[in-house]
Point group: C2
């Protein structure tokens, strides 16, 4: 019998772990944290639900390890300051926007969890505040950098969570032209 149970090839753990991670990424992005059940993730990965917990410890940790904000805006931020607002908006809307949006949606909705919340805070600080605030001149540079991050949050909310029709259907140029100067004011101080 090839058997109904498929047991234990040592070293295969990493593979199934990765397979679980892929399914988790997909389902978390599509259905959100609460909507993606451990059982559904396990089923899509062809695996027992208990194995998911065995590999990742908990659903919360699975979420944290698979759904990560990875956006890199260093290039944008290290560019010329006087056009930063527009370039930031453009970069948000064009650079891997699906991942950015679905990740933002999933993480923000899951901020019930303190771990998710602090992870999101850390990501925002690493992506925007830390690289930006030392570049700002004038008063309250860090506070202004944090308000830039807030403005970015707002745009992400509108597109990824509220799915504001007019904003979603607007061209990138329009949004750069309109929302860019709004952020630019925070940069200029």
């Amino acid at each position: 019998m090839t058997s109904s149970t498929a047991p234990a090839q040592p070293g295969s753990g990493a593979l199934t772990r990765e397979s679980i991670g892929r399914s988790a990424r997909r389902l978390f992005a599509r259905r959100g944290y609460a909507g993606a059940s451990v059982r559904a993730i396990a089923s899509e990965a062809g695996v027992d639900p208990a194995l998911v917990i065995r590999h990742f410890g908990s659903k919360e940790r699975l979420f944290l390890e698979t759904v990560a904000i990875e956006g890199r805006f260093d290039d944008v931020i290290s560019g010329p300051l006087d056009t930063l607002g527009g370039r930031l908006v453009e970069s948000l809307l064009t650079e891997a926007p699906e991942i950015t949006f679905s990740t933002w949606r999933a993480m923000l909705r899951a901020t019930d969890s303190d771990l998710v919340r602090s992870r999101l805070i850390a990501a925002m600080e690493e992506m925007f505040i830390r690289p930006l605030s030392p570049r700002l001149s004038g008063p309250d540079p860090e506070l202004r950098a944090r308000l830039v991050a807030a403005a970015v949050s707002g745009l992400l909310d509108a597109v990824a969570i509220l799915s504001d029709d007019l904003i979603v259907q607007a061209t990138v140029e329009q949004l750069v032209r309109l929302y860019g100067p709004s952020i630019q004011v925070l940069v200029d101080g």
Copy 2:
């Protein structure tokens, strides 16, 4: 015997319904949608969990009926346009901020539910976009009004969800002075 079961005074339904509503408001604000269980709400109201469903139909509808965004910014928006940005920020931060913040937090986190999501969209439209967009001159008035709403979302995110320390600890005057002009740019077009 005063009895262990307290049965059926006709007309008392409205009272217990209201009592359930109060407990729900409290627990949803404190623990969020997922964190506040129907059983906990029922227990705090001194009531059987099934009765909660009987009165409100479902947890989702209970949430929608109890946690509502009620902010009124008509006065602010109908005031002079050239100072709208600052006045809007000030109003957001001073007018019943706890309710605004905890409601924003609870609703945004619960946008997994399409009903909650569309309710939040409707609230944003009623509070900001509908009163503001007819007052804007220049190109794309409605799109700009929606971007104002996005900027507001960003500020609410920073304060209510991410709890950005520097923003929370900043004075209202500081935030009016810094974030106000950023919104003002969208108003001026």
